[in-house]
Symmetry: C2
Subunit: 458 residues, 2 copies
């Protein structure tokens, strides 16, 4: 099981955007339509038919992530993700994974600030087996100290390799903590080390009973299955689990209005290439007014996607001050999200010099807006990428799952190309003016720590 | 009622340090000793005899502050402080305040991150009346929407005048939020505006029932009363209230190891004098190893108290780059506290220039330590200040109350002069080296916002 960090998970969902909706509108035959249902116990089911090969991708998404943890217990959502592989009365630890592997399937899992997901790709005829397995571990997990405590060590080691030994991940962690002054998005998905170390069996059990329930879950299936059949399987498996009546809508502490530009510098002996990033607090699709999030998508593409983008052309190609430069925007988040620009300086260029050139590119875009050609090219490319991405069942399922667990609907996903197409140049300029305001931002520098002697550098 | 912010309240306690302990050791006659008791319902009572005048100062300290609020409900501890003046069945709103005023008394209240306190100074013969009143409102408050909602507006207005219209308070709020990445000390004591606006009657009642209880309270009395008599009064008033069995020790999310120096800049049109402050995460008395907190007290005095301090002499007198410069340390906090340096540049000097001069002063102290003369002068002055401060009942009571609600004991307070006397030059240098590390810090610049046209500046 792999825990993707929030930013990675969300960035991924942005990239693969809205494939199926395009499929449905491009070829609206009965069987290619996306079907969605809600079982009587509250479980949501989305079925995306794809009959090109006899395989299905099944994911169950729980509406719980790191931002839903009790303060002081960071890492608990991700800990649960690991513990879900520990076995139930009917399926001892490892048994199901072995079966999936035996019939050539794949499985995985991931945790973000807003959701936790479990994934299997299997031959179509194994779909119901997978659903039985997931339904069983939704409430049947058998947790003891003997199971929980060694897994906590595994997670501490995972934190070592993913964060402590990764200067860029450390920078991201520090920046999120400085960007979010009040919202739990400032908390690392994997958890703070000193809090992971204290997580207990009881913490895990309380969290599991609180959040793992059919009315907190969305099952998304893409592949060689008819919607009616998938629904029947769902009723026969997940449908048997009673609703958890105490599960309430998620309400997290929100951000105060941002007031002061922040900076931070992380020095790490392992840094070979200095880099900088700036994150701006920006609305997610769920928190934005209509059109705002779409304008931010287009803005991030024009400003920073690929070698035709403003930042890349100005900093890497024309001025030659950077070896890398770009931007990204994370649209899927239940609460206030972020927009980021980044760059890595060429040898001999300082980070403040690079930052100043980057500021000039942003200022010019705010002052003069974008050209009609940039707008059309970006919109076409975003929509085309979405169409190409239809080819991948997992991408489709992830897009729906991430959207539905962060406040969007199936219709929102399906309307994505149409929403992007509607973005105007004025909206993009306005988005830049409103959200790329330094008072909303944290700028992070990653530099080599030269105070550590070379022989001690890992 | 006045809500002091955490830093003001704690800074005060540092300044007035440990008066009574000195009194007790200087004149250890039976009646001048500090007496302390715990009633069977858990209420703690501390009595500090002072028979110079027929008055008593009575304070009740609740072990609850802004750091104990549920996330998303910031401002609730302070809100309760206001609501405690709203009346009970026996004492309708305002009645007691009028009585205190009628017999020439004073009253007040304050909230910090760690405690909430209520204060009366009255003629000695009114002590029991005050205790009856406080005991009555510990559990007898009558709260309704008609009482709670208008008071919420009062608090929003208080936030306006204390924070929104006060650039230095805004800077402090932003800096605390950036300094504490995980601990609720990053939350303003008065609360974030958007959260205050949503506080409800139910929030207030739940908080009141949870924290206002005899086993969560410490009564400190200084003045013209015998300890035995104060104890008898306490038994007859507070003693009648049952213990709240569900009150648990306070455990807040703790800070991860600080990793990256942070900066922030707050621009406000009302700023006439630019200024800077740097806050370092530093141990409180409660979290420090023996001697560390005392060394930080002495360090803050040598570095930044008064016109003989290192910072003042170097920046204001010798280099002439600053009009103000100093340092302070907040020793009383249940969890990780802070050490701060600050300065305001002379006309024509930039904040980075001032900061660089300040860095040089700190670097020199870390490299070369302090002189024997500086050490002796600072220790003598700290101890003498404490002795002079004995003159003020309120100061004595505040010192005990703040100490006892943040993890210290009566003995710790009494041993304060002895603990300061034991600090060595090596400990001061080590404290500077260990805690004045930029990675532990946030540096805040306060500048004039020149983007706001003069006619719109308030």
């Amino acid at each position: 099981m792999i825990a993707t960090t929030a930013s990675v998970a969300r960035a991924l969902c942005v990239t693969i955007a809205a494939l199926v909706s395009v499929a449905a509108s491009a070829a609206p035959s009965g069987d290619s339509r996306v079907a969605s249902y809600t079982l009587s116990n509250g479980l949501e089911l989305v079925v995306i038919p794809d009959h090109r090969a006899p395989v299905v991708t099944h994911m169950i998404w729980y509406k719980v992530g790191a931002a839903d943890e009790t303060p002081g217990k960071s890492g608990l959502a991700h800990f649960l993700e690991h513990l879900l592989f520990k076995g139930t009365e009917r399926h001892p630890a490892g048994r199901f994974s072995q079966e999936v592997a035996r019939f050539g399937g794949q499985e995985n899992a991931f945790t973000s600030s807003d959701y936790t997901g479990y994934f299997q790709r299997v031959p179509s005829e194994k779909l119901k087996d997978v659903m039985e397995f997931e339904a069983d571990r939704m409430t049947g997990l058998q947790l003891t100290d003997a199971v929980v405590l060694p897994e906590r060590d595994v997670i501490l080691e995972e934190r070592n390799s993913r964060v402590e030994n990764n200067p860029r991940a450390r920078l991201g962690e520090q920046m999120d903590a400085a960007l979010y002054l009040n919202h739990p998005y400032g908390r690392p998905v994997i958890g703070w080390r000193h809090e992971i170390e204290k997580l207990t069996l009881d913490d895990a059990v309380v969290f599991y009973r609180r959040f793992y329930a059919p009315n907190g879950a969305i099952v998304v299936i893409a592949g060689d299955v008819k919607a009616a059949e998938a629904l029947k399987f769902a009723e026969e498996t997940y449908g048997k689990i009673p609703r958890q009546s105490s599960l309430a809508p998620r309400q997290r502490p929100q951000e105060p209005p941002p007031a002061s530009p922040r900076t931070l510098t992380l020095a790490d002996p392992r840094v070979e290439q200095p880099a900088m990033q700036r994150s701006y607090l920006a609305p997610s699709f769920a928190t934005a007014k209509p059109g705002q999030s779409e304008a931010l998508e287009v803005l991030s593409h024009i400003l920073g996607a690929g070698s035709n983008s403003r930042l890349y052309r100005a900093l890497v190609v024309e001025k030659g001050v950077a070896v890398a430069a770009g931007a990204w925007y994370q649209s899927s988040a239940l609460d206030m999200s972020k927009f980021a620009v980044y760059g890595a300086p060429r040898d001999g260029v300082t980070l403040p010099q690079l930052e100043s050139e980057m500021d000039a590119v942003i200022a010019r875009l705010i002052a003069d807006g974008v050209t009609a050609e940039e707008l059309e090219r970006s919109k076409s490319r975003l929509i085309a990428d979405a169409i190409y991405a239809q080819d991948n069942q997992a991408s489709m399922v992830r897009w729906y799952g991430a959207a539905l667990t962060t406040g969007a609907t199936v219709a929102d996903v399906q309307r994505w190309p149409e929403r992007i197409r509607a973005v105007t140049a004025a909206q993009v300029q306005e988005a830049a003016r409103e959200w790329l305001d330094k008072r909303r931002s944290v700028t992070g520098y990653l530099i080599k720590d030269v105070s550590v002697p070379p022989e001690k550098r890992s």
